[in-house]
Point group: none
Chain length 143, copies 2
Amino acid sequence: MFIGEYSHNLDEKGRLAVPKKFRADLSKGAVVTRGLDNCLFLYTKTEWKKLADKLATLPFSQANTRAFARLMLAGAMDVLVDKQGRIMVPDYLRSFAGLKKGVVVAGLYNRLELWDQEKWEEYKTKTEKESNTIAEQMFELGV
Amino acid sequence: MFIGEYSHNLDEKGRLAVPKKFRADLSKGAVVTRGLDNCLFLYTKTEWKKLADKLATLPFSQANTRAFARLMLAGAMDVLVDKQGRIMVPDYLRSFAGLKKGVVVAGLYNRLELWDQEKWEEYKTKTEKESNTIAEQMFELGV
DNA sequence: GTGGATAACATGGGTTTTCATGGTTGCAAA
DNA sequence: TTTGCAACCATGAAAACCCATGTTATCCAC
């Protein structure tokens, strides 16, 4: 299970160190793709397969589902954790998520999220303020 | 499984390099045809057969399905991956998809899509803006 | 709390693979 | 035979991958 919040730097070649804790799980293969709210999702191969299989069942005759499949599937990229424990984040995903140097790696149970540092801070302060309101909505969903 | 987004150039002879990752799957034979949203679809022979069989079962009485079947079946062309890992994209498909020099090769699970670079960028910026809305619709479908 | 040791992360350079490009050959149709 | 097109081969450029070193942070002993 992925939990926690870490801060790392992208180097000039677009590589990002993965926190030590997570490497073992990701070492068998991982997939990074577009996420929601302008971040990237990083899955283990197993978790990714579950998601991709669902996406593949969507009919390509509908414009909306085509668009979504293109965002998530074509947006996805296999990544390897190298011997120094880093992954390569492709250009097009870096620019999608607005990643500059400072990157936040956040654990969310079955996935990791990669955020631009600044965006993460903004998002956090915003949601922390609204947390009580959000919590009440969650309660309605059984949490 | 095909995933990812790659950028390659058509050379003057109409050849296109296929990303290394995909060559093994396509080496046993591939089919390129007209796709939706002004791109081309590239299938392995196996996947193509499945699709063609499905298209063949569509009711011949409907004008819509006739048109769709003609688009995809009559537009289809066998292609070979040469020893340098490239395929020849026929003229009529190049002009259908408006392919100039820059071409994006996108992996979508059981097919590859070939896009004119500019068209792809336009499409992407459009759908990325709507991505949260689309995603919420998808999650209602159980994704 | 302070200092030292160790592990984790950042940065840079060199090598290998992959892609782009152009020339050449061989086959087929005119 | 000639011409055109498609497959093959050779070269150079660019990017990905690997390895080595320097720096920062963390942990533990004192």
